[in-house]
C-alpha cells in the first residue's frame, strides 16, 4: 500500500528542515556538506580533514592495540664498557666504565625469548630513561649509593610500550644509563651513549661484522634508515642531543622521528628537520616548569620553519614519574588533586601516542595522525584529557608576535593589526626567565596578551594582498591559552570562548565560534604553580564556507578577526596565527 503524505505535512516538514539546516550552518554544525566549488583543490584531497567541515573530533581505533607480530624479548649487557667525554654548557666531563646495557623487544617468528627475528627489515626505536637512583637498598629505596647487589633497572620501565611497538614490527630497545645518573647534567653524554648503541645495532645488522652478542640474529633485519628515538626526563633531552650530534658529526644514522616525554631543557637545543613529539604531564612535580614546551617552541624555527611537523600533548593530571613503571613514587603536583589520573591511565596515553607517532613516521601509517591535530580522540584513554599543540610543515604564518622591538600592530606578513578596545594588548615573552606578563608562563616564544571586560572587543589582522590566496591550506589555526590571573578576568575553572572571523576582499565575513570546535581550558590547578600553556586550535577552512551558501572567497582573504564576544571578560595569550595544511 502506498502511503500518501498530505500536502500539509509536506508544507510543514520541508521548510522546517531547511530552517534547521540553515541554523546548523550558522552554528557551524556539520549538518550537511557545504556547497562545493569545482576550483577548490581541497575537495580532491581527502587526507585527514577532507573537504568537509568537521567540528568535533571523531573517534578512531587505538593505534596501540597489539599488532600482528609475535613479540620476542632479549637483552644485552656487554662485557666491555666505554668512556664518554662530553662538553656541555662550557664544562667537559668524563665518565668511565659506562655499561652498554639494554632490553630489546622485537618482532619474532614466535613469542619465545630470543626467537629468530621475523622476516623483513624492521625499524628501530631506542628509548632512554632519565635521572633516578641506581641502587636498590635493603628497604627497597632507590638511591645513588652505596652500591648494593641490585641495580635499579631504570631502562625496563618502558617495557609496556616496547612490547607494543614490537608487535607492530618495530625493534624496540631501551638502554640503561645508570652510569650517567646521580651526576649533574650529562645530557650530551646521554646523547653519545645513544649513538654508541646505534653503532652496535648498525654492526649487528651487518653480516660482515662478527657478532658474539647475538650470533647474527639481527643480520639484515634492522633498517638503520628508519630509526626513532624516545627519551624521558633527562633522556628526553638526551635524544635531542643525539639527533643533533648524528647530524653535525655526519654519523649517518637515519633518525626519522624524535619523541620526548617530560623532558628537561638544560641545553636549549633547536630541532629543525625531524618530526618531533613531546608529551608532558600537567601535574609534573619534578620538571615543574614544563621544559618540554620550550623544545617544542624552538623547533621548526622561524628561519627554517617548513621542514618538520611538531606536536605536543599536555596531559592533565599526569605526573613526571609514572611514564616509567620502575619510578613508582608519586611526585605529582598536587599529589592528591581532584584531577589526577592513575599511573595506568598515564602510561596508556604514552603507549597510544608513542605508538601512533612511530608508526606514522617510521612505518608510514598515518591513520592516527588526527590524534595529534585534535581531529580525533581515543575513547579508550578517558578520563585522561590532553591539550595539544601542532604545526604542519606546510603553513603560512600570519603573525608569530616575534617582533623586535615588540609591535602588536604589525603582523609577520607585514600587514597591519588593529586593536578594538582590548586591554591589555601587548606582546610579551611567554617565558619564566623575565619579561613575561606574569609568572605563569614557561615557554620559549613570544605572544600577544589580550584582555577584555566589555562587549565589542576585537583583534583584527590584515592579510597583505600577496598572501590573500589561502587555497593551498586546509585550516586556519592559532595557539591560545587562558592566562591564569587568579580569577580576575578568567573566572576560576571555566573554559574560554570567542569567535574567529575570516573576511574576503569583497567584504564577506564569516564568524565561527571556537567553542564549537575545541575547548580552551582553564589552567591545570597546581596551587602556587599554575601554567598558562598555549594549545593549537584548528578550524577547517571548509567550515568558513558554510553559512548562507554564498561562501567566502578563500582565494582572496583580506582580514582575520578575533571577536571576543562570548564571555563578558577574558584574558588570553595568542601565538602562531597561521593558515596550515
Amino acid at each position: 500500500m502506498i502511503k500518501i503524505r498530505s500536502l500539509a505535512q509536506r508544507m510543514f516538514f520541508l521548510p522546517a528542515s531547511l530552517l534547521v539546516l540553515l541554523l546548523g550552518c550558522a552554528l557551524a554544525l556539520p549538518a550537511r556538506q557545504p556547497a562545493q566549488d569545482k576550483d577548490d583543490r581541497h575537495e580532491s584531497d581527502d587526507e585527514h580533514e577532507g573537504p568537509r567541515c568537521r567540528q568535533k573530533p571523531s573517534h578512531i581505533d587505538d593505534p596501540s592495540q597489539p599488532g600482528h607480530h609475535h613479540v620476542s624479548k632479549t637483552s644485552y649487557n656487554l662485557p666491555s664498557t666505554i668512556t664518554i667525554t662530553a662538553t656541555e654548557n662550557g664544562s667537559t666531563t668524563t665518565d668511565t666504565n659506562v655499561h652498554l646495557w639494554a632490553v630489546v623487544y622485537y618482532p619474532g617468528i614466535s613469542s619465545a625469548p630470543n626467537a629468530p627475528v621475523a622476516p623483513g627489515h624492521h625499524p628501530l626505536v631506542v628509548y632512554l630513561h632519565g635521572n633516578h637512583g641506581i641502587w636498590i637498598d635493603s628497604s627497597g629505596n632507590h638511591t645513588c649509593g652505596p652500591p648494593t647487589a641490585t641495580p635499579v633497572p631504570n631502562h625496563e620501565g618502558y617495557n609496556y610500550i616496547l612490547e607494543r611497538l614490537a608487535s607492530h614490527g618495530i625493534i624496540a630497545v631501551s638502554i640503561n644509563a645508570n652510569d650517567l645518573n646521580c651526576k649533574g647534567g650529562r645530557i650530551v653524554a646521554r646523547g653519545k651513549l645513544i649513538l654508541h648503541h646505534l653503532g652496535l645495532w648498525k654492526d649487528w645488522n651487518d653480516p660482515a661484522k662478527p657478532d658474539p652478542t647475538f650470533g647474527g640474529r639481527f643480520h639484515k633485519h634492522v633498517d638503520m634508515n628508519r630509526v626513532g628515538l624516545a627519551g624521558h626526563s633527562r633522556g628526553g633531552e638526551g635524544i635531542v642531543s643525539a639527533y643533533l650530534e648524528n647530524q653535525s658529526s655526519g654519523l649517518g644514522f637515519g633518525i626519522k622521528a624524535v619523541h620526548s616525554i617530560s623532558p628537561v631543557d638544560f641545553d636549549a637545543f633547536t630541532l629543525a628537520d625531524v618530526p618531533y613529539y613531546v608529551l608532558m604531564g600537567a601535574a609534573d612535580g619534578d620538571v615543574w616548569d614544563l621544559q618540554g614546551a620550550r623544545i617544542y617552541d624552538r623547533a621548526a624555527p622561524r628561519t627554517n620553519a617548513h621542514k618538520m611537523p611538531k606536536m605536543q600533548s599536555f596531559l592533565y593530571g599526569a605526573n613526571h614519574n609514572w611514564f616509567n613503571t620502575v619510578w613508582f613514587q608519586d611526585e605529582g603536583w598536587p599529589s592528591f588533586g581532584p584531577n589526577r589520573i592513575t599511573d595506568v591511565q598515564q602510561r596508556a596515553v604514552e603507549r597510544a601516542m608513542g605508538t601512533a607517532f612511530f608508526r606514522e613516521y617510521l612505518e608510514g601509517l598515518g591513520a592516527a595522525h588526527s590524534l595529534f591535530t585534535g581531529d580525533a580522540v581515543l575513547l579508550t584513554l578517558a578520563p585522561a584529557k590532553f591539550y595539544r599543540s601542532f604545526q604542519d610543515p606546510a603553513h603560512l604564518t600570519v603573525d608569530d608576535f616575534e617582533d623586535a622591538p615588540p609591535n602588536p600592530l604589525l603582523n609577520s606578513l607585514g600587514g597591519a593589526n588593529s586593536n578594538v578596545s582590548l586591554s591589555p594588548f601587548a606582546e610579551f615573552p611567554f617565558s619564566e626567565f623575565g619579561g613575561a606578563f606574569n609568572n605563569t608562563f614557561f615557554q620559549d616564544t613570544h605572544g600577544l596578551i589580550s584582555g577584555w571586560n566589555a562587549a565589542g572587543t576585537e583583534f583584527i589582522l590584515d592579510v597583505p594582498a600577496a598572501n590573500k590566496d589561502v587555497t593551498a591550506y586546509r585550516y586556519f589555526s592559532f595557539r591560545v591559552t587562558q592566562v591564569f590571573d587568579s580569577g580576575a578576568l578568567n573566572p576560576i575553572g571555566q573554559t574560554e570562548d570567542f569567535d574567529i572571523g575570516l573576511e574576503d576582499v569583497n567584504g564577506n565575513r564569516i564568524y565561527l565560534e571556537v567553542g564549537q570546535f575545541d575547548t580552551i581550558p582553564f589552567s591545570y590547578d597546581r596551587p602556587g604553580g599554575n601554567a598558562s600553556m598555549l594549545q593549537t586550535i584548528r578550524l577547517g577552512l571548509p567550515c568558513f564556507r558554510c553559512t548562507g551558501f554564498a561562501g567566502l572567497d578563500i582565494h582572496a582573504i583580506a582580514k582575520i578577526h578575533f571577536r571576543f564576544n562570548r564571555k563578558p571578560t577574558g584574558l588570553v595569550g595568542l601565538d602562531d596565527v597561521q593558515f596550515s595544511r
Binding site: 503524505r5 509536506r10 516538514f13 520541508l14 528542515s17 534547521v20 546548523g24 554544525l29 549538518a31 567540528q55 568535533k56 662538553t87 662550557g90 664544562s91 667537559t92 632519565g130 635521572n131 637512583g133 629505596n141 632507590h142 638511591t143 645513588c144 649509593g145 652505596p146 645518573n181 646521580c182 651526576k183 649533574g184 647534567g185 626526563s233 633527562r234 617530560s262 628537561v264 638544560f266 612535580g285 619534578d286 620538571v287 615543574w288 616548569d289 613526571h320 609514572w322 613508582f328 613514587q329 608519586d330 611526585e331 605529582g332 603536583w333 599529589s335 592528591f336 592513575t342 599511573d343 595506568v344 591511565q345 596508556a348 575513547l379 579508550t380 578517558a382 578520563p383 619564566e432 602556587g528
Partner: protein, 152 residues
C-alpha cells in the same frame, strides 16, 4: 531523503555531538604508590665546607680551557631526609658562584659539591641549595665562613 526523516536527523545531530558517552578503560586495582613531595626545603639541612688536597691532581676543562687542579673546596649538604634524585639538578649557590658538580653519599642523606676554584667562595657570602628554577625547594644556610672551612 524524505523531508520528515531529514527534519528528525537534523534535530538529532547536535544531540549526537554532545552526548558522547565515554566508556572507560578498565584499570586493574593497584596499591596506592608512595608519595614524595618535592616542593619544599630539605629538612634539618646543614652545610659544611672542607678543603681537599687531591692525592692526584685532576684536569678540568671549562669553556674549552684545560687546567690542572690539586686543591678543591667541597661543600657537604646533609639532611635528615633522603635528598631527592630528580630530573632537575641541585645547585649550590655561594655568593656569586653556582656549583653544579656534585655527588650523592650516605644513601642520599648527603650531597657533596665540588668547587674547583676555592677562592671564588667569598667570606660572608649567602648560601643556599635549590633544584633548578624551583624556588620552593630553596634551602637557606648560614652565610659561608672561610674560618669554618675544615682541612682534610
Amino acid at each position: 531523503m524524505r523531508s520528515r526523516s531529514l527534519f528528525i536527523l537534523l534535530l538529532a545531530a547536535p544531540i549526537t555531538f554532545s552526548a558522547s558517552a565515554l566508556p572507560q578503560e578498565k584499570q586493574p586495582p593497584e596499591k596506592k604508590p608512595p608519595v614524595t613531595y618535592l616542593h619544599q626545603p630539605l629538612k634539618d639541612a646543614k652545610l659544611e665546607a672542607q678543603r681537599i688536597h687531591l692525592k692526584k691532581p685532576v684536569e678540568i676543562i671549562e669553556e674549552g680551557v684545560k687546567r690542572t687542579v690539586s686543591v678543591v673546596l667541597e661543600f657537604r649538604v646533609t639532611s635528615s631526609q633522603a635528598i631527592p634524585v630528580r630530573a632537575l639538578d641541585p645547585v649550590l649557590v655561594v655568593g656569586e658562584v653556582s656549583i653544579r658538580e656534585y655527588r650523592y653519599e650516605n644513601r642520599d642523606r648527603s650531597l657533596v659539591f665540588t668547587l674547583y676554584d676555592p677562592e671564588k667562595a667569598k667570606d660572608g657570602a649567602a648560601a643556599y641549595l635549590q633544584f633548578g628554577t624551583d624556588a620552593s625547594t630553596r634551602t637557606e644556610f648560614e652565610s659561608f665562613r672561610s674560618a669554618a672551612i675544615k682541612d682534610d
